[in-house]
Amino acid sequence: MRVEELILEESFRLVNRGGEIDREILAPYCCDLLSFAMGRMPAGAAWVTVMGNVNTLAVASLTDAACIILAEGSHLDEAAAKKAAEQGITVFETELPIFEAALLIYHKLHG
């Protein structure tokens, strides 16, 4: 599944359109501790988290995540929104709980 397919998803709201919108999502990944995410997130992940600060963007970029999904109604703060635009990272927001957001992606990947 490509990142752009999530734009059509009703419960997801695109807040930053990144440069690699046709990127393949390989797996959902859930974690709010950035140090853990840094060490364990696989490349090509759709990263579901509630952390919307600039460091989230840095971790996503360095671990080569496909996109970020901010769950539970959380938002990018101002500095993070600017960073997302600068670095071309695709970010969605959703009211869904973390588990449900990740499950939605899992079902799209595995039918």
Partner: protein, 140 residues
Amino acid sequence: MANTITMSYEVPGGDFTRAGEASSSLKGSLKKMNVDPDIIRRVAIAMYEGEINMVIHANGGKIDVIISPDEIEMILTDEGPGIEDIELAMQAGYSTAPDNIRTLGFGAGMGLPNMKKYTDEMKIESQVGVGTTVRMKVKL
């Protein structure tokens, strides 16, 4: 030495929002050199963790990256407080980071273990009150 490229980065202290700029910049340079994406990912993660440590604990520092045909070496030098017990610091989950760092999603005691995990070689030299040098190598 022939066929090596050295790049140097300053890591500003105290500014948590700018931590990661050196790693991002290196990542961009390695991409342009057509380095294998998996290698880039490992180097970028290890260096970012090092940068974060410098910002949290040492009021910044400097990083030299030496790229040779066989390996990428990162040398991170700071004049921070030093590490009292390196073995303890290397244990996953051990952290001396303050609470405000934890609210940002860091300080879980995973930094040094992540750096070791993603590199082929890692050496720490540290003297309390003087500073710390971390050398990491990733084989190409």
